[in-house]
Subunit: 219 residues, 2 copies
């Protein structure tokens, strides 16, 4: 059976390269696991049948031999179980990998996401300007803790794992800010992760789908 | 070897009953797994040695036979692996449980948390009042999708699982709002989960620790 990853046919410019199917695509590339793309449009996204697969009509959904998963974190966990290169078998390393996987999704990304909301959808709005200082204070503390934990290590837990896919994907969204360049450890970490062949291939494949489905009216 | 859960010695009133060690305590109660409490104060929380266990000095940390985990989601995963009552062995049910576990931490809690920040720490501040409408719009959509998915089921995936611990814990923080009572499915779900003996025992044990460590100066 083939693994199938659901992604969007097309998204606006600002979202390209950041839609979350990038994460399972990347994981598949790292272990050489072939997958099929299932590209959905707005109509299918809003349909009851798709909502039964993904409660909010988002992507990715992963289908694997009759098993369905949603949430990119859950999908990374599932793909990790297939190959020790993504999720180490050693008990302590596995525990740390899963800890960092959840940390990416619950201790880092929510604040990155809140900042993204401000920068992408509320730039210049009064509430956004007023909220920024306290949000940046929280984000500074989170990023400093992460940088301290990373120290001079290349990856979060020994070799590259699904935790690095999740964490570097969350941090990448800060590339439009100075928060990474202010912390050379994190800037180098994101660069190291995204320099991997697996990331580059996954990114190219996500973007290629959008190019193929560019609406004629926007040309 | 005994499982050890790290929790705070004492927290201010508003946080009691909501500190995240409640989640692994609850999971342990559900499967009758005895655990030891390791209670830490502010000094230990800020120490370099504790930061090496938990990058942001938070709780819980779980120690289990030499294995350390942080992040309550990772700890729920780990405890789930011990017992099918928390994480089903059936592949499809397991995949759904892990999907909902991540959904609680990444698709529901971040918005609940942002609303909590507004209500607890920024009530009446200008940015908070201005931000509320768009935040509530997002939260409405998330909660409606969750209620649709839950439908007339008692729990997210067949019987009670770690996903229900995570999801009901995230939703409980909305009890100070009308967002649950506006959705009877969700209100009943939270009530069903928190009526369980395991929840009640976990809650009593968290609160008991705070009572034992009440600073003399506040009396």
């Amino acid at each position: 059976m083939t693994v199938t990853i659901t992604a969007f046919k097309w998204v606006p410019e600002f979202a390209r390269g950041f839609v979350r199917d990038l994460r399972p695509r990347w994981a598949c590339e790292e272990i050489g696991l072939a997958y099929e793309e299932r590209l959905i449009g707005q109509e299918e996204q809003a349909s009851a049948s798709y909502r039964a697969e993904q409660p909010w009509g988002q992507v990715p959904v992963l289908q694997d031999d009759g098993v369905h998963l949603f949430e990119s974190g859950a999908i990374l966990m599932h793909l990790g179980e297939k190959d020790e290169r993504l999720l180490p078998a050693d008990l302590e390393a596995r525990a740390h990998t899963i800890s960092w996987l959840f940390a990416a999704f619950n201790s880092i990304e929510p604040w990155v996401f809140e900042l993204g909301t401000i920068m992408l959808f509320a730039e210049g709005e009064e509430w956004a300007e007023l909220r920024k200082p306290s949000l940046l204070e929280t984000l500074d503390e989170r990023l400093d803790g992460l940088a301290d934990a990373l120290g001079d290590k290349d990856y979060l837990v020994g070799d590259f794992t699904v935790a690095d896919i999740a964490m570097s994907s969350a941090l990448r969204e800060l590339e439009r800010t100075t928060l990474l360049s202010e912390r050379p450890i994190l800037a180098a970490y994101v660069e190291r992760c995204t320099a991997r062949e697996g990331f580059k291939k996954a990114m190219a494949d996500q973007l290629a789908a959008f190019d193929r489905h560019e609406p004629a009216t926007t040309n």
